[in-house]
């Protein structure tokens, strides 16, 4: 890796942008997210994402560059320039927040209920697939247990729920957990020991998906009886149940992506999964491209610079086929001005083509799929230092999600170019029983330091309750495939 080459490229890009700023009638004021600034941010984030430069260096370059442009605006009638110069903080460039969104606030990682350690052998993941109804006073609902996970940080169910009150009726999901009367649930194991349930608080008060079992039960119990208030207990078997996979153990294979190629693949998938708006019938590509946020469209203009910067940093070979595929993808999505100079590729990966075909469909989907969930419990081999466990599929409100537990070194929650989530630097895909591919994009996090439950939103959502799915998770050094049977459950 050529770190000096990377830093030099970014600084030369800043110089080129400076020349642009010196042109007469610069138009929109600096800092408005127009001109070359988004491209520079994209390149800076890309180089930081592959480790060619550190974030602090990128921020220093952007800060100096920003100051250079600002001081040239003195005397040009830009009100507040002096105040901006001294008050601006560089974190807005490369730091925690995606473009256009504030950095997430909230408490830090939760204290583990048990000492965290390398206890992989003792980890236990069990598919559940049971619905526990509850009613207390005017509040009723159903707790849908997708899976049970017992790791070094404790025992919990991965769950979704629906809640009904006189004023509120939620659909199957993971919101408003505070309305569930967990204190009135009873939980008993096969030895008569009693436990309590509680929603695990996370840094996102609007979203929770883990129901903690306290204290953590012994790892060798056979079942738990879970009873909601005003309802009989539902027995949750924790022994061997349904086969977690249809084809034996998940299959891992080596891949030989350079850091630059892996980043470009993630960028391609980001473009493929950028939702054009609320779920609805798929539109034509032109409409979809127009619906991309303006900030993303501006950053797409920096993709050619990203490719050249990665080459300058020696993390992308000039002979790599990935930039050509990215160019073809941009053309297919009607995203012009990307600046990638290599000729487009004639062939795209099958999964990309499947998504493109979806967007090009003009026929509306048949009747929407019913809200439901499918239990999963598959621990995958480690990928790029991350150990994943697949813990459930949920389909609600015409949106489908794959729930995973990600374990590994604690990562800063940073965003890369095009706002890709660098805390989940993996490529995730699901192929349904009909052969259609669905990209799985990191969407919501339940953060817990070294263990995080992540909701991966499937794009496009499922359209029918497929009986099996092939799931592929790709890292820079390896790829894991597994085929899972799906037994769909539906709340009443």
């Amino acid at each position: 890796m050529d770190r000096e080459g990377a830093e030099t490229y970014l600084r030369l890009l800043a110089e080129a942008a400076m020349r642009g700023s010196l042109a007469p009638a610069p138009g929109a004021p600096w800092g408005s997210g127009t001109g070359r600034e988004p491209a520079m941010i994209t390149v800076g984030r890309a180089l930081a994402a592959v480790g060619a430069v550190d974030v602090a260096t990128v921020e220093k370059i952007m800060t100096d560059f920003d100051l250079a442009v600002r001081v040239r605006q003195f005397g040009q009638g830009h009100a507040g320039t002096a105040a901006w110069v001294v008050q601006a903080h560089s974190a807005r460039y490369v730091g925690l927040a995606p473009v256009g969104l504030p950095a997430r606030a909230g408490p830090g990682p939760l204290e583990p209920s048990e000492p965290a350690g390398d206890e992989e052998e003792d980890d236990r993941f069990v598919p559940v697939g049971l619905t526990v109804p509850f009613r207390i006073g005017a509040i009723s609902g159903e707790l849908c247990l997708m899976s049970f996970a017992h790791t070094g940080t404790g025992a919990r169910f991965i769950a979704a729920w629906d809640i009904r009150t006189p004023q509120l009726q939620t659909r199957l999901g993971a919101e408003s957990s505070g309305l569930i009367p967990f204190e009135d649930f009873t939980v008993t194991d096969d030895r008569g020991a009693r436990y309590q349930l509680d929603a695990k608080p996370g840094d996102d008060p609007q979203w929770s998906t883990e129901i903690i079992v306290r204290p953590a039960p012994p790892r060798d119990i056979g079942w738990l009886d879970v009873a909601g208030p005003d309802h009989p207990a539902v027995r949750v078997g924790l022994g061997p149940g349904i086969a977690p996979t249809a084809d034996g153990q998940p299959q891992a294979s080596d891949v030989t992506l350079s850091p630059g190629e892996h980043l470009l693949v993630m960028l391609a998938e980001r473009l493929l999964t950028t939702a054009p708006g609320p779920p609805g019938p798929p539109g034509r590509l032109r409409r979809r491209a127009a619906a991309l946020p303006a900030s993303l469209r501006a950053m797409v203009a920096g993709l050619g610079d990203v490719v050249r910067a990665l080459e300058a940093a020696d993390v992308l070979s000039p002979l790599s086929p990935v930039p050509a595929r990215l160019a073809t993808l941009c053309a297919s999505l009607d995203l012009d001005g990307h600046g990638i100079t290599v000729p487009p590729a004639a062939v795209l990966p099958e999964a990309w083509l499947s998504l493109l075909a979806h967007y090009q469909r003009r026929k509306p989907e048949p009747a929407p799929m019913r809200d439901g969930y499918a239990p999963l419990a598959v621990a995958l081999p480690e990928l790029d230092g991350i150990r994943l466990a697949l813990l459930g599929l949920l389909h609600a409100e015409e949106s489908s999600s794959l729930y995973v537990l990600a374990r590994g070194p604690e990562r800063d929650h940073r965003y890369g170019p095009l706002d890709i989530d660098l805390a989940f630097p993996l490529s995730a895909w699901l192929r349904d029983g009909g052969g259609r591919w669905h990209a799985a994009r990191s969407d919501r996090w339940h953060r817990g330091g070294r263990e995080n439950t992540i909701r991966l939103q499937l794009v496009p959502p499922l359209t029918r309750p497929t009986a099996r799915a092939e799931i592929i998770i790709g890292g820079q050094s390896a790829e894991v495939r597994t085929t899972v049977p799906l037994r769909w459950e539906y709340p009443s």
């Binding site: 830093e7 020349r19 100096d64 560059f65 001081v71 002096a82 110069v85 001294v86 008050q87």
Partner: protein
Amino acid sequence: MINSPNEDWFAPLPPCEAQVPCGEGRHVVRWEAGAFRLASHADPEAELVLAALGGDKPRCVDLAEAWGRHAADLTVLSVGPRGPDDPVPVGWDDVDAAAQAAQPGQWGWQAYRPHSTPMRLASPPTAAIARAAARHAQFEREAEQASQRKIDILSLLALGHAFQVRLTGHVVAAYAGRLDQPDEHGRNVRSVLTAALLGRLAPVAEQWIGIDQDQVVVALHDGPGWGSAELTGRGAQRRLRVSLPAWWLARVWACGLALTGRHLVVATERAGWPDARVLALRAPGAEPVSLEAHASTGPHGVGSPSTHDGPNWEI
């Protein structure tokens, strides 16, 4: 002899002056032979002692200190002028406005400072609150240092173009001999100087042979000789590829010698004011020739408070 290490890089630069609002009046500050001088303050050291004892520090003294702090600050290369056609029009009113904006209470986040009256707490502060307070204090300190640094730079820019290019020369001179060591902020010096070279050579090249500035490619030259300059490709693929030592920025560009008599000056063989001998190219790929250069002052004359012109060198 090219770029003799025994010759001061600033030998071809005449003195320059600027007027600075200081106290109730305007004082003269002067750059001469590589030194920043306070012409209107007889004993700046004594004034510093008084300031340390609680007295007001004159702005001129502030400026001299800022000059010392930033004469080896690579940020100057990013912010400073790329050439005579790139004015950096900071005025003293701008500096005052920035200083006012940096006062406590002007920052958005300071609105969240704890109430000055101690509040009665239901329970003692937890360790988490203490950690958060420490982080906040650290952020506050860093933000104040960053804003002070920017005010320093604005003040130095307010001295005008002549001081700006001289400060650029000092910064280059501080690092040209140690390209492979990072600066105190971890910046890669070779990267910064490569970008500084491109930013300042590209406009010169445009004037020299009419090439688009985006078609100029630079590299820092290491080793013996002055470097290289060649023109490659055609049309949109045309490139002027120039390799020059980092010292070129100080010894040639900062001294106003870069384009002299329609030649690209690549080195000084004998530095001096108002006469120097330079090594210069008439065209890319040509052999450099040794030329005698003679300087005249700009229309405002050396020492004029509004001097924006460097020396005007002729063959």
